[in-house]
Amino acid sequence: MSYISKPNVLHPKMPRNALGLTERDYEGTVSTLCAGCGHDSVTAAIIQAVFEMNIEPHKIAKMSGIGCSSKTPAYFVSQSHGFNSVHGRMPSVTTGANAANRELTYIGVSGDGDSLSIGAGQFVHAIRRNLNMCYIIENNGVYGLTKGQFSASADIGTLPKKGLANQQEPIDAVSTALSLGATYIARSFSGDKEQLIPLIQGALSHPGFALVDVISPCVTFNDHEGSTKSYAHTRQFYHHVVDADYIAPAEEIKAAYDEGAAMPVELHGGSKIVLRKLDSNYDPTSRATSFKYLRERFNAGEITTGLLYIDKSRHEMHDLMGNVDTPLAQLPLDSLHPGSKELKKILSRYR
């Protein structure tokens, strides 16, 4: 029950962003998820990401489906607009919302059940449209609210709390997105805020479909020995391959980077993301080699993380359609019909 609001106490010395808002202004109601749930860490990362980016809260649209992950939009940025839709259908609602108003910042929060089982169809088609949104999957391999059934991202051999090991092939959100031509693909871990925050910031600035697949352990149903989505397992086999540093529009690149290992990428509105390769063999701009690398690492039992793929060549949905810059919802109705005189001309075709 996510209706508990937080007391509005503010420390006078709390840092403020360029809009004069504190991080508290980007919080939501108190989370009702289990203590220690990975999702709460993702929520905290989102709050810090949008606070640092100086996004006006009411220009944010928080989109979700159904499930533990989909409850979390209530827990961040209360002053924004939330849309908690139906199970697996967040991508279509976001597609329509974005079609009507391309100026808002769309943050979709979904889960592995919501995106890879019931919502697999919508997930893949939002990618094909290169819908301009940040799509976060809080990936824990199980259904929480219905008490621990495997989801489609559960690895072969992974053990449930009770019962038999999973025998079905998992659906990997990252390689699925890669094969479908998503234009920004990242993977991270709820327990690694330092890596996760800039990845979310990059996703929010990327003009197109940006996937952030976050391993976010379920403490209640999938944090035991034999689970490949537990905190312990993730920490042990977790492997950074390309990290990202987010550079806000007005900022300059200050950190020293090794030539060749660092790659600055321009994003929307003058912001940048600098990619730091931790494995020189990895090329985050090549679909073919990324796919091979990820598969090999997966087979070796490793969880590859970081900004795994970026493609700046493809247009996002509106530009693919050739739409005006003004949000369609803001066009006055009387500018949208050709008038009564023209109607007469149109009718003459039917005589």
């Binding site: 849309f83 279509s92 976001t94 739409n323």
Partner: protein, 600 residues
Amino acid sequence: MASVNDVVVRIATVNGTGSASANGLLMKSIFRMGVPVVGKNYFPSNIQGLPTWYEVRVSGDGYNARSDRVDVMVAMNAQTYAKDLADVRAGGWLLYDSTWPRHALLDRDDVTVLGIPLSRMCNESFEGARARILMKNIGYVGALAALLDIDLDTITSLLKETFADKQQLIESNMTAIRLGYDYAQENFVCPLPSKIEAMNGTQGHIVIDGNTAAGLGCLYAGATVGAWYPITPSTSLMDAFRSFCSQYRADPETGKRTYAIIQAEDELAAIGMVLGASWNGARSFTPTSGPGISLMSEFLGFGYYAEIPAVVFNVQRTGPSTGMPTRTQQADILSCAYASHGDTRHVLLFPADPGECFTMAQAAFDLAERLQTPVLVLSDLDIGMNDWMVRDFEFDEDKIPDRGKVLTAEQLEEMDAFYRYLDVDGDGIPYRTLPGTHPKGSYFTRGSGHTKYGAYTENSEDYQEVVDRLLVKWETARKLVPEPEIEYSQFNKSAILSVGSSDGACVEARDRLEKQNVSLNYCRVKAFPFSASVMEFIEQHEVIYVVEQNRDAQLRSLLMLDSGADPAKLVPLLHYNGMPINAAFVVQRVLEEIAKGRAA
């Protein structure tokens, strides 16, 4: 039986042979002569090679329903020849391609069979297989022109308009017309006793199908987001919208589009897109048919409970399940009225012809935004895909569209606090805000239990307060939806009540019954919830024949459910074989019921 301007021509062809343009030419020529005409297409769920029929009903009296007889059959399909011959009325005529001889058995003493060697003549006059097939169709139009006395100049000018700068095509088409025309003149007694004479009955009218009209209505309503999944028979609605938009929706300076048409991955996504776009303030719609409604049901309930506008066109086809996708029915009335789980109900509009598709498309957006709820426009295949003669559409530029209760940034600035689901005005309709307008306008949209303040709840009283308020809104809807069309005389205690495309058959049936001294009042409902005048009409009568095109008397059920109408006086008259209902059926069924004593 000689007649003027009262003739039905049925043309039997094979689908995929290009007969549509020939049939259109025939129909428009008659229309241009000032003679009221309608065209109905009976086609298979197939791309090429199966039987298809086009029926042109010429009616000087202006009746627009399917006729119950065929005067002239153009039997161009050998496959269906026997059936086609059997369908001709006694004393009628059958025209067939006599290039190949027919079996002597296939003859009727009471039908005049006219053979015309169309294939042979076209093979001699045209080059190439495709041209020969196409021109054969134009050839029968020429023969019909002679037989029915259709003005050749009218045909010529139509061809000139159609092929504007393609002189070669005008000439070849005229050659084909001449082939048929001259052969008929030389070999048959022309014109037939059933013939056409110029009159002044089509001025101020057009011939159009309902899907085109609805697409045009969406253009004029200012719809900017259309999401859809292709499904027969609704597809041509989005095709029409796209075509109008490509002409009228480009930014004059940049040439960029002021509309988004998104072909969704399925109907679940299509309605999700519509809800997302409407939530953000765009006028958004989706055209679909019965199976699409089934898939959209979960989201329609969401739209009802979260109170988001949406416009859905359901061009109904024959169910259940896949049913007969290219046949008509009115069998989604109940599934649309109550689409989705839980206590859910939706506003429905029932256009009866393309004219109402145009006006109701616009009304649907106004109602959806005023009432903040999905509105479903229930057209059907007969209206959507057939050619109807209707009055010229009118558009009043001074009429301001109803965008409903949407708070502006200025209004929000002055408010202490905004609560999304609070009934401020007592009409059950809360105020809404559009995302991005103002920090004070933020709220959380959810399909889960919520309080009138918009907060999540599992509290019984808070939950119930909101669903009860939705009933207040329902009563407001009852006052806002279009009023029924009623013809009433205090001397009649019996009446017909119908809906949508059943109208034409009922109108014609009433005239015929009147001649048999059966006088009936009439009510055609145009919307659900039923307005008070529908209830009043029911109360005024002792017997009401409820005419609709489904097996289960769905409109009758809805009348009982929504208005508490007495089931005893609602007599169901049900037509559900997939063909459009006609007057003969209504007359026969009314007389049967009267004979059984169900009359007043």
